[in-house]
Symmetry: C2
């Protein structure tokens, strides 16, 4: 008998936890679909050359090798597991360019893998749930606003607690940094350092910027900038700050103003302009955003995204600007489960258990169950025929709300409501099924 060893970083849920995950997924999917995002799924496996732009393997990638072969490389090239859903999207859009309609709005829920060293608290396999809108040549700000609106609605409907959508503009950051005399290289470096503000604090940021060779009065101004934070409603106050007065900031400011008029009204109270938001990733060029839970700031963002000018130039000779956002579903589930943020009515979706008095009754019980299913009721027939009490106990332990049985003396159907303990005669399965479905 081989012993089961836990491998860390590969999360696995119990069935009742998986039901919660499925509920979260169905809420997210419903909102994405309500905005016209279409599902796609790409293989988990890509060529390493696809995943490593410019030939550099700078990600923690898992390579594949056939167990039956010695060489890691076949003629077709090295295969590897994707580490995000953005590079596969780029390859997908380039490969199927002629078959897609633009703007191409897609959602994608898949596992991704990071070939990290086993380490507590780090996932090596996890779900991401992404939406992106890709256009040819030009992508209006309406698309940024739609993405943020959809995300806001997701977190409103998930109802996991107060949340904030932190919003910023890379154009404003780059404009302000340029005004301070920073070179392009220094601007990028500064983004990377400011992105770590929550982790390393103001002193840490100052230290790292100093080590990067910036003058201390420049550093002070960069730090001052990160303090500009306010509700979206007060956008005009924020944007009229002297720190953003340079004309280099003006296109970023205009974008934020336009955005504020296009984003869904329902989520405006949740949006905060936050000049300290920088996002580490290289490819963002415009608006950037992330979602944090007010109650759990230490947990960091569960969702982040932004605008990028150029999705797929490594694969296709087209200008394809895009905007997207990614929900770290497995991380979100970790938070939901550890803080018990979402409760289901029951551990199972089964609404009715049909009890079986004796094996003679079973064919009839099966027919009853099939009829209930026809009316939309999820239904199980108990797999054996022990005493009724045992079957009721089994239903109770699984939180199945109703047990139906055929009275062996009278032949009538009776249903027991497991929470009220009341019992009723069922004269019409159809009517009863209707009442069960409408009470959902």
């Amino acid at each position: 008998m081989s012993k089961i060893k836990n491998i860390s970083g590969f999360p696995e849920l119990l069935p009742e936890q998986k039901l919660i995950e499925d509920k979260v997924i169905s809420i997210i999917r419903k909102i994405y679909e309500s905005h016209g995002f279409q599902p796609i799924e790409t293989p988990a496996v890509e060529l390493l050359s696809t995943l490593s732009t410019k030939g550099v393997v700078d990600k923690e990638i898992y390579l594949l090798r056939r167990a039956k072969e010695d060489s890691t490389q076949s003629d077709e090239g090295q295969l590897a597991l994707h580490f995000d859903l953005t590079v596969p999207l780029a390859r997908y859009v380039a490969q199927h360019f002629g078959s897609l309609t633009f703007p191409f709005k897609r959602y994608q829920l898949q596992k991704v893998w990071r070939g990290e060293r086993p380490q507590k608290g780090r996932f090596r396999e996890f779900f991401q749930f992404d939406i992106d809108t890709i256009a040819v040549d030009e992508l209006p700000l309406a698309c940024d606003a739609e993405i943020v609106s959809a995300i806001g609605k997701v977190f409103l409907e998930l109802a996991l607690g107060e949340f904030t959508i932190r919003l910023n503009s890379r154009k404003i950051l780059f404009g302000a940094y340029k005004e301070l005399g920073l070179s392009e290289e220094q601007q990028k470096q500064t983004i990377t350092v400011v992105d770590k503000l929550d982790k390393i604090g103001v002193d840490g940021v100052k230290k790292e910027l100093g080590a990067a060779g910036l003058a201390s009065n420049t550093i002070e101004k960069i730090v001052e900038l990160t303090k500009l934070r306010d509700k979206l409603e007060n956008i005009e106050d924020v944007l009229s700050s002297p720190a953003l007065s340079s004309t280099l900031c003006s296109s970023g400011k205009e974008e934020l103003m336009t955005f504020s008029k296009l984003v869904s009204k329902s989520i405006i109270p949740n949006i905060k302009i936050d000049l300290s938001l920088a996002r580490g990733l290289d490819y963002y060029t415009g608006l950037i955003y992330e979602v944090v839970f007010n109650q759990f700031p230490e947990f960091g963002s569960v969702c982040s995204g932004g605008r990028y000018d150029d999705l797929a130039s490594q694969f296709i000779n087209k200008k394809l600007p895009g905007v997207g956002v990614s929900i770290g579903l497995s991380r979100l589930m970790e938070l939901i489960l550890s803080k018990d943020l979402m409760k289901l009515e029951s551990k199972t979706k089964t609404k009715v258990m049909v009890a079986v008095y004796s094996e003679d009754q079973r064919p009839k019980c099966n027919e009853i169950a099939d009829e209930l299913r026809k009316y939309g009721v999820t239904c199980e027939v108990f797999f054996k025929s022990p005493k009724l009490g045992k079957q009721l106990d089994a239903a109770a332990s699984r939180q199945i709300p109703f047990v139906l049985f055929i009275n062996p003396e009278t032949g009538v159907y009776e249903a027991k409501d497991m929470s009220s303990k009341s019992q009723q005669v069922i004269s019409s399965l159809k009517d009863w099924a209707k009442s069960l479905c409408s009470s959902n």
Copy 2:
């Protein structure tokens, strides 16, 4: 610019094909859930030692290696991608034994990987959609009947064409083979050869059995046995065949009789007892079955399963008999798409496109869209504001059924039905949304 190379065996669908796959998935899931099967998801990655029972790597397994490391092996052991969902289920049940309720009925839809040589027509990554019922110590035939019933309902509801559930009993086969004097080893060998009947024909079977050392009159009897095929309704005729008269066959015959009384009536016309069905896999011990489309016999089975005595003895010191079935979803999709077996009303789920006369109108258009979404209507706002004709063309090409716009002169909402070309004034978005939702 790096060229995109196709890697064969990793299927990828266009968005409109993915919609069909999603519809197939939702039908299967609905029926599985209606029977009380619970969802689980296991990591794609397992320890190689988990996947290779008895230390033998006899499957085409993909091993993982971190790109940043030289060694394929870390301290935790070699990681690999799972090649089916049964071994991970066994590990899952053993690992979480104390947290599960038995009988444990689960469904699982996941990708699996086969590290095969690239080869036309062979998938290396594909979806499987499995259900299994696992019990402790003893699993009644009611569970086999439920699994076959669920599968039958799936294919009835998918409505892809006439199908047959081929049904047999390994106990009958082993009993009949033993009666013919075959050793246990020869019995297993014969199963493997008979399983290839459809591929290699009667002559091929005779030749291989001859090569295995069986006497020609024994071979004749084995071949005769494969000719016993009839509708489930005629089960008594089939089972009264002299070829099955040995008492060694009697427990298998009894099981089939009991099964025939417990399986859902709706699918009985689709079931055929077929003594030529053998199934290649080693671990089946009782009833076995597979689903074929009558119109496409050459395509082989799209779904198969059976009873096994012992799920997880390699991981846990318990007797865990089980019964399960697996739908080869990616193969099924290949058939559906290549033969055009399932048509959707539209290439998109979007019901309404809100046209935008001018960018000034956009915030109002967004509000209209949000209101429609609130009433359950999937809805998009056109991303730019070109002439209305262009926007109507865009909606038509994507098969969006309705376009709503604000008459720029009167301010009233008007909706154009894109198929009838009729136009109507919308005085209440709520009422209109209701009519759209009820016409689904």
